[in-house]
Symmetry: D3
C-alpha cells in the first residue's frame, strides 16, 4: 500500500548557462540568451515527491510539515535569492541547467529520507519548461 506524497515549494534565483572553457561566441552559439554574462533569473517551482508505505498509526507516509521544513532547510536556504553560479558550491564546476539543478536537489534531500522512501523531484524553470528526476 505505497502512496506518493508531493509537496510544492519555490525559490527565486539568478543564473547563467556557459562553460568557462568556451569563448563568449561559442557560449552564445550554444546557450543563446541564457549565456548573458550579466545573468537572468527564474521563479523556480519545486515539487518533491516521496513514495512509501502509510504508517498505520498516523495515516501518514511522511508528515508534510517535516517535508516542508526539510525542503526549506536543504533547498530554499541554499538557493532562494541566490546567484546559482556564484553562490552555490555545487555549480562552481557544473552548469546550472534545470537538468543539473534537479539532480543536485535530489542529492541534497535523499540522505534525509527514511529507508525505503523513493524520491522524485520535479522542477519548473518557467511555467512552460520543467524537468523530472528519480533514480
Amino acid at each position: 500500500m505505497k502512496v506518493t506524497v508531493s509537496r510544492k515549494a519555490h525559490f527565486n534565483a539568478a543564473h547563467r548557462l556557459y562553460r568557462k572553457d568556451w569563448t563568449d561566441i561559442k557560449n552564445n552559439e550554444i546557450f543563446g540568451k541564457c549565456a548573458n554574462p550579466h545573468y537572468h533569473g527564474h521563479n523556480y517551482e519545486l515539487i518533491v515527491h516521496v513514495k512509501g508505505e502509510i504508517d498505520p498509526i498516523t495515516g501518514y507516509v511522511m508528515d508534510m510539515k517535516v517535508l516542508k521544513d526539510l525542503i526549506k532547510d536543504e533547498v530554499e536556504h541554499r538557493m532562494d535569492h541566490k546567484n546559482l553560479n556564484e553562490e552555490v558550491e555545487e555549480f562552481s564546476d557544473l552548469i546550472p541547467t534545470a537538468e543539473n539543478i534537479v539532480i543536485v536537489i535530489y542529492n541534497w534531500l535523499k540522505p534525509h529520507l527514511a529507508k525505503g522512501h523513493e524520491l522524485t523531484i520535479t522542477l519548473y524553470e518557467t511555467p512552460r519548461n520543467y524537468v523530472t528526476f528519480s533514480k
Copy 2:
C-alpha cells in the same frame, strides 16, 4: 496502444486528524493544528486516471461523461460538503489523512471500471500538498 485518460473533479469537506486512543496533548503533538477538535476543511481537487486500450469503434478508452458521472455518484455524493470523520463510514476507524482518503476513493471506483483498466488516483488537499495512489 494504451492511453491514460484523466478527469478532474472536486469536493469540499471538513475533517480533523486525531486518534481516539490518544490524549488531546498527544494528538496535538503529532498532528498539530490538524487535530483541532472543532475541525477544519479543504477544497479537495481530485484527478482520476484510467489507463486502457483505445476502443477502435469510438476512439475512446472510456467515455469521459461516464467517468464524470461515476466520480459524481461514487465520490462527490459521499464526500462533498461532508464531515469526513462524522459522516463517511470508512473513516469511523481510519484517520482521514490525504493518504487514507486516496485509498478509500480508489476502492470505491475500482469495482466500476472495465477489466484491464488500470486506475490511479491523485488528490490535492491544498494547492501545495497532494498524494497519488495506484496498485
Copy 3:
C-alpha cells in the same frame, strides 16, 4: 503615481451556513448542503491589494514582507485550521458567507495600513467562487 501591490495568502477552515433562529428545514431550504450541521470546509485563497504612492526612497508602495507578516498575524493566525462558526468571535452572530468573511478581513487589516493606502480584499472560497470588497 499610485500603484496597487497585491499579495496572495491562504488558510484552511471549516464552516457552515445557518441561522440559529431558523429551523433545520428552513436552513436546509435556503443554504442547501452548506447548512450541514457537521460542517464542511474550504482552502480559502486570499488576495490583499494595497493602493498607494510609491516611496521614492525605496521604490515600494509597501514592503511585501511587512504585508505578508501582517496577513499572517491578523488573518491566518485567526482563521487557519479553525472552525469559523465556533472559534472566530466575529462569526458568533454573523453567518460566515464569503461576503461576510471578506468584510471581516477588511476590518482586521485596514487599521494597520498607512494613511492614504486604499485596501481591497479578494477571497476565493473555491476555485470557481470568489468575492471582492473595498470601501
Copy 4:
C-alpha cells in the same frame, strides 16, 4: 542519470466526434453534443516529455529551444486554428478523440528525437479532461 524534460505548448482547433458509417441518431447517442455537425472546438494544451541522459558538455538532455521549434513545426503548424476532421489528413478516417490525437502527435514527433530518447505526450482537451501516451 536520465532526466525528463517537459515543454508546454498549445493550439486551438475545431473538431467533431462521429463515424461516417453511423446515422446521426447513432452518432448523437454515442458522442452526445460532441457529434454536433457544425463542430465545436478547444484550446488544446500540449505537454511533450523527453527522457534521456544529460549531455555532460551542455548539461542538457535536449535544448528546449530545439524542442519548442520542433513542436511548432510538427504539431502547431498542422493543428493550430484548423478543423481537425476537415484539414488534418490523419483524421480523414480516424475519429479525433483526445486519445487518437495524442497518438498522432506522438507519431509526428518520435522520428525527430535522438536514439535513446523516450517520448511521452500529455494533451489537455479541457482544463478538466486530459490524456497521456507513451510506448
Copy 5:
C-alpha cells in the same frame, strides 16, 4: 457595504472571424488564421461578477447556486459545443470576436439580475487572451 461575487464557468465552441461582405483575401489579411473557413475553436472560460449589497438575512449578495444555474441556462445552454457563427442567432450578423461575445453574454444575463446589481463579464478566449465588459 457592496461586495462583488464572482462565479467561473466554461463552454467549448467553434467559430471563425470574417465579414460576408469581404473577399477571402481581405478576410485573411485582417483576421489571419482566425478567418479559416473550416472554423477553429476554444475552451472559453467565463467569469460573471455581480456587485450588490449583502442581504443581512442570508449574508449573500446573491446565492451562488442561483448564479451558477442562471449561467448554465442563459449562456452554456446556448454556447456549449456550438458553432457560434452558424448556431447562435446573435452572431448571424455580428463577428464572434471575444469583444462581441462578452457583450452578448452581458445582454443575456443582465435582465435576470435584481435591480441595483451591477454586472461585469470577463471572458478568456485562450489562457493568454481575455476581455472584460461592464456598463
Copy 6:
C-alpha cells in the same frame, strides 16, 4: 461600449534591490535578501490591458496579434534574459522594484496605443506578489 482586452506575456530577468548611496548594511536592513549583490531573478508574468471602443468593422478593440507583437518589441526585447540593473537604462538610477518596473513598462507601451485607449499594466513578480498600474 468600451471593452477591455487583456494579453498575457512573460520574461525572465535578474535584478537586485539596493541604493548606491546606502551602505551594504543599510541595503540589507531595508531590502533583505533582495539586496544580494550577486543578484537573483524572476519569471515575470505581464498582463497588458487596453480599454477602448469596439471597432464596428472588425469587432476588435485592438487586434491581439498587434498587441502581442507590440509587447514583444517594446517589453520582452528589452527585458527578457536581461539583468535589469545592469542592462536596462531606465534602471540605472531607479530601483527595479515591481512598482517601478510596472511604470516603466506603462511608459514604453502608452505612446504606441491609439488615442482614447486606456492602458493598465499588471506584473507578477512571483505567483504570490503582483502590482497594477494605470493613470
